[in-house]
């Protein structure tokens, strides 16, 4: 195989490995808030790896440009999704796993859902 084919295989494998880790994380984590970490983070590098691999496979500038644009859009939108799910869960009172960590948000919302 040519060098760029090897690189494609390597990038896609790394990407898929991170996606697998992210799915395992979603299964293993104790509550919604920690699952968001696993889904939103380990998944990012997975998507970046696979997209870079695809861009390299086609090898022309336009495909590479499209992949870079896709990665940029993904990096802009994925944290917003994670943040919105987390916030909606907190506002609707989804229980967190019992832990000794602090909760500085407790009692900070007033009756109209405004945060002080």
């Amino acid at each position: 195989m040519a060098l760029n084919e090897w690189l494609t295989v390597l990038l896609c494998s790394v990407g898929v490995a991170f996606m697998l880790l992210s799915s395992v994380g979603v299964l293993r984590m104790p509550d919604l808030y920690t699952r968001i970490h696993a889904a939103g983070k380990a998944g990012t590098l997975g998507v970046i790896g696979v997209l870079l691999g695809v861009g390299l496979y086609y090898g022309d500038l336009l495909s590479a440009g499209k992949m870079v644009a896709l990665i940029a859009f993904f990096l802009l939108t994925s944290p917003v999704a994670g943040h919105m799910i987390d916030r909606a869960a907190y506002l609707t009172g989804v229980k967190a796993t019992p832990s000794t960590g602090p909760d500085d948000l407790q009692g900070r919302y007033d009756a109209e859902g405004r945060l002080h």
Binding site: F18, T34, K41, L62, H83
Partner: protein, 169 residues
């Protein structure tokens, strides 16, 4: 707005891989639709950046370009680190993590600055931004594993907020 519309039309033609007049018209029409939908937010953003561009508020273009490149490099490196950290937590044989929510006081003032900072926090090791207080002076962050809350607070203030404030005050 017109310049943005033309850029959107050219992007459409590039992605279609065909540069005919018809493609330009279709791209221009679609771009017009997008701008119509986002007009209100766009106008606020333009007003916001006009405030940031007041004389003396910022350095010249070359310095800003270098700052941007450094910021993008730093963000990408942080994302790779975040993935690695979370992956390490996932494969731990025993999940002895200590999640919680901590409040971090904000020094960055502009809306775009807070948005960039919140996104950066969500993209980086073990932290997801949950909400910003209505006076925009505190951001609440969920951490997957708190060993030392003050260390996390310092890290976000020293590393992330400082770099964001270099670009958006």
């Amino acid at each position: 707005m017109l310049a943005l519309n033309v850029v959107l039309a050219i992007m459409w033609m590039t992605l279609q891989r065909s540069f005919t007049l018809a493609d330009f018209v279709v791209g221009f029409g679609l771009g017009l639709g997008v701008i119509m939908l986002t007009q209100r937010v766009l106008r606020e953003q333009i007003a916001d950046t006009a405030v940031l561009r007041q004389p003396g508020a910022q350095q010249g273009y070359p310095q800003r370009a270098i700052l941007w490149l450094r910021f993008i490099g730093f963000a990408l490196w942080s994302i790779i680190k975040a993935n690695w950290e979370v992956a390490k937590i996932v494969v731990r044989p025993r999940l002895n993590i200590n999640p919680g929510i901590i409040a971090i006081p904000l020094d960055v003032k502009s809306e775009i600055g807070i948005t960039v900072l919140a996104n950066l926090i969500t993209l980086t090791p073990g932290t997801v931004s949950l909400d910003v207080s209505s006076y925009k002076d505190t951001i609440y962050v969920h951490c997957i594993d708190i060993q030392d809350a003050d260390a996390i607070r310092d890290d976000i203030k020293q590393n992330f907020e400082r770099r964001v404030m270099e670009l958006f005050p």
